[in-house]
Symmetry: C3
Subunit: 375 residues, 3 copies
């Protein structure tokens, strides 16, 4: 079934339960191996750089203790590119370490480190994606993981389902030991007018379940990160002075009979994005907005074709520092055991500053082959 | 039962044994999530800093192989603050990796990396503490973990029990690849005049077992660390020249009918604590003494109240570099499944240089909430 | 049985299989604790340096998914000296993360990170060695692990067995996120004129199986690493400019009735080994050749005596930078449970520049005691 990063899961992997049903643990691992490249230029197909590596290698344990009300989820990441080593100088192995308490079937809280209730593509597990990577919009503007207190409430309104999610968190992401007094405040509302997706499919890309009736989720959220010291809020390199970030997120996903369409819009405002150290060196927080669209169909043989269009543009203040970027991407995925075992081939055309010409030197082609294997 | 860091344990967690009883392994994990803060000052209750994070995330495996005489214990730590990254620049994941050989029921040796037979609070597992953190005395003066050869002997003297422990180890702690010729030599004697504590309770804080008869352990030890290159011997940042450290440790624990009292005194002398590099930059080894006291009572509903008073003072040579520190701390703990699942609330008043006034700028308040969840 | 690093194994450790036989996983761990030293000089037996630490602590999972054709192997290393931290500045935890697809019983391919089909001693698992460390020849000239695509073909020719192995890989080893366009190309042929070794013993040191008939494997290989940026190709520190490396490898192993003899010759040529940065600082790729010989006999009580002679010499261009090194080494190993649980004592005489005199200051003695414990 679907791996959800906002909940303790009961997977079909390795399970152990105590005889008195007071204790349960479930182990998973996931490996993503890839080989891809980008070209020098749009009209020079020489290879500029290979991206060939173990992109992700993760261990995950979920379960409960003292009965199902008190649940937990732990996720560890072991590959270099999955530890933010290059941004933070620290090998951040712990991705999730969170304790859940279920007050009722409709309401639970989380204390610890896991994903914030942010944009849908980020909250989707990296094992539930239909392209090898998330979009450039997510890359620049997501609010990612954070340590703190989160609350999740679900209810129905006739046939419809709605969810309210909120978080108070440190705002500094998963790498810090201590944090200043500026925290982060996040809220999100989701509305599913036609009821729940099969197998939590609103947090999984592609319509692998082949929904028999149309299903839709509409969501909006906002996060205010006070006095963050990273270029991307919870992510990124160090800033030289703390800044306040406001991130607006709207997203939707629709699935029906093998077709899926997902879109998300994210906009970020920073009070004063440009920070300088005493030598005048600049470190700036990314500010701007982006739109990501993904459209896909899965055939009877579990081969999926997908198309993605992403648009990301900086604010005017950053226009000299960052290009407007667009990505047109085709994806072909063979699902061998749902999202758990799959092979993916992606091809992209990457455009800078809305000049689509093949001889524009900010444009290039990319290709990526990735195999995911997990239990 | 009690987790002991000087022995291979048989827990109630996940166990696997071979059919011929020649092989056994037991898995555990432990997560400690916390949110706390310190104030700007004793009379300015604004928050200076949050300490909100996954404090510990550990995996542990214990067992034996080829029969019970040859046992092992492995413990890995994955959270940043648990890896000494900030002191050593290296992510030290391995906490324990040690092989035990039991010559008799009374005598066993250990070869590998685990805790030295030092002060009791350090040897107590971090999963057996009654406050969220160990004391400032332990922080400054403990001898921690080290790689080497250790020996443990237990015997009785009438009703009394005594233990002798000794170690020869590298003296450089758990982060090094190679080490100079100066090793560390540690010895410790423990005397339990009224016999053994229930469930190894002499290495667990608070009287969760509610001893029916008074139990007492008195212990003393000494460690000589020749030519260590870290400010804290086995711990701390690099010194610019090796120093010789002598550490004296005395501790006691008493438990009866839900009441517990634990005390420890540690004194360290360093032959020449101030070291300089060629630019004249100073790096110094901490030298001085400290006393820690903890007193607690656990109610029938498994709520425990505890009080701690800690005193730490530097040697005269360091008086310009380090303050005398005192901590008065109240602890409230709800034990849900002994020490394995518990919620803790701590409040402290921190005093510098024995000036207790609220407007002394070295004083401040602290608060900490921590949930521990383990199997 | 023998642990082989080029294949997904089915060990006797902890195994879990799904009821429908479509999924299998097997867990192992291995710990190597050691205490050794080298002397100041050949005629000054004072200790220059201790090597006392947890040399290796590894976790390994092997298995298949969706049936036996699709297999995987994952290996994690947690000790500092096992992560190339000191060369790369990054804690490289992932050693192996590779997916195997078996087209037929004779032919399979691997996609991911694992060992290249290089010299035999490197491909031998570190849990299958008869000395505590591999030879200095392997240390300077091995091609180690790499990410890429590998293929393995085995067939018979009468009683004889031959194997063909090939790889296309990044050439930058296990630490990189992205890589330049120069890849590495490796090929290897193995010929076993008297048929297969018992229990894959051609990739295990010492004749623990006591072969009833003589068994021999002869192998030769070549690796071309284009535009590598590390001093040792897949290993080592950064070079200031990319170089092209050609590595020739020949090795053989013979076993019969408790006797084993293994030899390997490696030669490396680098197009331009000396690289400089803008300040004129030098970083050079090692170039030269070496020969390693190991001869051993295992007694009925599973005590093995072994002798090793290693010779390593730099190319003429590096003669001012590197010494010719020779090692004469005696090994005594007690196998308690094959290679999985063993105690090893090694004594070596280390000679520089072929001057064997005790008062040559490049000579010294070494001793090492190591216990390995694994499941």
């Amino acid at each position: 079934q679907t791996e959800v990063d906002e909940r303790s899961m009961q997977f079909k992997g390795l399970k152990f339960a105590s005889k008195d049903s007071l204790f349960f643990i479930n182990f998973r691992f996931r490996m993503q191996n890839r080989m891809g490249f980008v070209t020098e230029d749009a009209d020079d197909l020489g290879i500029r750089e290979w991206d060939a590596r173990v992109r992700r290698l993760r261990l995950r344990g979920d379960g409960y203790i003292l009965g199902e009300k008190l649940a937990y989820s732990v996720q560890l990441s072991f590959s270099r590119g999955d530890q933010d080593t290059d941004n933070t100088g620290v090998a951040n192995i712990v991705r999730d370490a969170v304790i859940f308490y279920h007050f009722t079937d409709n309401f639970y809280v989380a204390f610890g480190q896991n994903k914030l209730p942010g944009n849908r593509q980020r909250v989707n597990s990296s094992g539930q994606l239909q392209f090898a990577d998330r979009s450039i919009v997510n890359g620049a503007l997501t609010i990612d993981r954070d340590f703190g207190l989160k609350a999740y409430y679900t209810n129905t309104l006739g046939n419809a389902v709605y969810q309210l999610k909120g978080a108070i968190s440190t705002g500094e992401g998963r790498s810090v030991n201590t944090t200043d007094k500026g925290l982060a405040y996040t809220g999100r509302v989701e509305f599913l007018p036609f009821g729940s997706f099969t197998n939590d499919g609103d947090y999984s890309e592609g319509d692998l379940e082949r929904e028999q009736k149309p299903k839709l989720s509409l969501a909006g959220g906002y996060s205010y990160n006070k006095a963050t010291t990273n270029t991307g809020g919870q992510l990124g390199e160090d800033l030289f002075a703390p800044v306040d970030m406001k991130t607006f997120m709207f997203d939707a996903i629709f699935k029906y009979n093998g077709w899926a369409y997902a879109a998300e819009f994210i906009k970020r405002d920073v009070n004063n994005p440009l920070t300088y150290d005493s030598d005048g060196t600049l470190s700036y927080a990314y500010e701007g907005y982006g739109l990501n669209n993904q459209f896909s169909y899965i055939f009877k043989n579990n081969v999926e074709t997908a198309f993605r269009y992403s648009y990301l543009t900086p604010s005017k203040r950053l226009a000299n520092l960052e290009d407007t970027r667009e990505v047109y991407e085709l994806g072909l995925t063979k699902y061998l055991k749902g999202h758990k075992v799959k092979a993916q081939l992606n091809m992209s055309y990457n455009v800078g500053n809305q000049n689509y010409s093949l001889n524009h030197d900010k444009n290039y082609w990319g290709a990526m082959f990735q195999i995911e294997l997990g239990i």
